[in-house]
């Protein structure tokens, strides 16, 4: 199939970007979207040009590294798919495809279609983990977990941290991501010791990084490749309310030093 591309090109984070047109002739139907870009890049390189920079790693939909906004939709056409799992048969011969980077203040553009998503890492580092004693692996079913809780925790744990929720949100809010991480641990016994501290720290970090505020458009849920439901945002809200309320009565040790309530 023969396609035309309109691709966002930008030298570095401080340069002003612009769209450039590329022809993409002879693309096989079975090529993935990223393979299509590889083919186009080969051509650009043959002519001595600068290849289009884009992020990718596993190319099998599990790492969350690929991004791109394809024709206005993060991760392109099709529900619950990452860009690396989009195939060219979703497009028609002669189509013009517009490819842009994720756009949000906390995700600065590094080059072309590559954005810096380390704000998500910093949020994770502020509390998105559990502390356990290492050593020999414990017996898997030693701690009983109710089935419904386990299911909800697994649904939340499916988040691959790709940032499409932020890219799709008209407010560039990260609450689907933070909600997924907070829910995942808040629902499991292993997450209890740091439960309060976790939600307070992660929300404080999220705000500090400059993400917007959810106004319940639910655009995030519609593009999420891991099908995270906005339920996690509702849970994030009540977890945060509960943790803040408890802090009034029972302050966390060292809270002030750690910048949380």
């Amino acid at each position: 199939m023969n396609l035309k591309l309109k691709v966002w090109r930008q030298e570095n984070s401080s340069a002003t970007g612009r769209f450039e047109q590329y022809d993409a002739p002879g693309i096989p139907d079975d090529a993935s979207f990223l393979e299509m870009l590889d083919i186009v890049n080969e051509k650009i390189l043959e002519k001595g040009g600068d290849p289009i920079a884009f992020d990718h790693d596993c190319r099998e939909g599990i790492c969350g590294m690929c991004s791109l906004v394809i024709n206005g939709t993060p991760h392109g056409p099709g529900r619950a798919t990452t860009t690396c799992q989009v195939y060219m048969r979703h497009f028609r011969d002669g189509d013009t495809i517009t490819i842009e980077p994720f756009r949000a203040k906390p995700f600065p553009i590094l080059r072309d279609l590559v954005v810096d998503r380390s704000a998500f890492d910093r949020i994770q580092q502020s509390g998105g983990f559990i502390n356990v004693r290492s050593g020999s692996a414990p017996e898997a079913n030693a701690i009983p977990i109710p089935k419904n809780k386990a299911d909800l925790a697994m649904d939340a744990a499916a988040c691959i941290g790709c940032g499409a929720c932020v890219a799709a949100c008209p407010n560039a809010s990260a609450m689907l991501f933070v909600g997924a991480k907070v829910s995942h641990f808040a629902l499991l016994p292993q997450g209890q010791p740091e439960r309060r501290k976790r939600v307070l720290s992660m929300v404080a970090k999220m705000d500090e990084e400059g993400f917007g505020n959810c106004t319940n458009h639910y655009e995030c849920e519609a593009v999420c490749p891991a099908e995270i439901k906005v339920d996690v945002i509702s849970r994030l809200n009540r977890e945060y309310l509960a943790a803040s309320t408890l802090s009034l009565i029972e302050p966390l040790p060292n809270a002030a030093a750690e910048g949380v309530a």
Partner: protein, 254 residues
Amino acid sequence: MRPLIFFLTSSIGKKYLVALTGLLLILFVVGHLLGNLQFFLPPEWINAYGHKLQSLGPLLWLIRLALLAVVSIHIVATIALALENKRARTGRYAVPGYRASTVASRSMAVSGLILLSFIIFHLLHFTVRVVPGHEYNKAVLTKDGKELPHEVEIDKHWGIPLAKDKPHVVHNVHGMMAAGFTYPAIAGFYVFGVFLLGMHLSHGAGSFLQTLGLRNDRMRSLLAVGSRVFGWAIFIGYASIPFSVIVFKHGLPK
């Protein structure tokens, strides 16, 4: 104190303020509509109701100040959130695409701010009664279109008209409403204002539960449909009053 300040200045804390004040405003809007719909009953109903509210004295002022505080918190918190959102969203996409949001959800700030200008006009018109050229006369409390045969006094405790010896003059709320809406521009602005209110609530009436942390996936379609039905029912309810005056001359002298 520290946790409270942390909470109230955080993203989620401000969202809670918006949702809680939004809920209180919904309760007010429903109560106010039920009161207003007495316009379709004989005039003495709404006149007596208005008189009862007017004679609440200090309680009336308490309610007014509480409402003012609720509206102010709602607006200050939403504007703060909206400014943060504007800062976070750097540029739109070349191909606009919306998959789940609605015109109503995307225009909450705009519908809210125009609504605010409507609310200010509405207060000047029917509460402060300073919009010139209007019928703000007093009327004798009537029943079945006739003046009450007995003179009326208002019970101090319950605010109910009591049959007594001299005619009791109350404010003619019914006449004021009908006269107010004979101006097409005013009726039109009113309908426009309550249209925005309907749109605001077609999103807000379901949205506040999500914000308060009280929603899950099983309520998805119920809330999506219920919120729209509620919002537009509020619009139809309020708009029916100016509509009946302009189209059917309801409440105007025959």
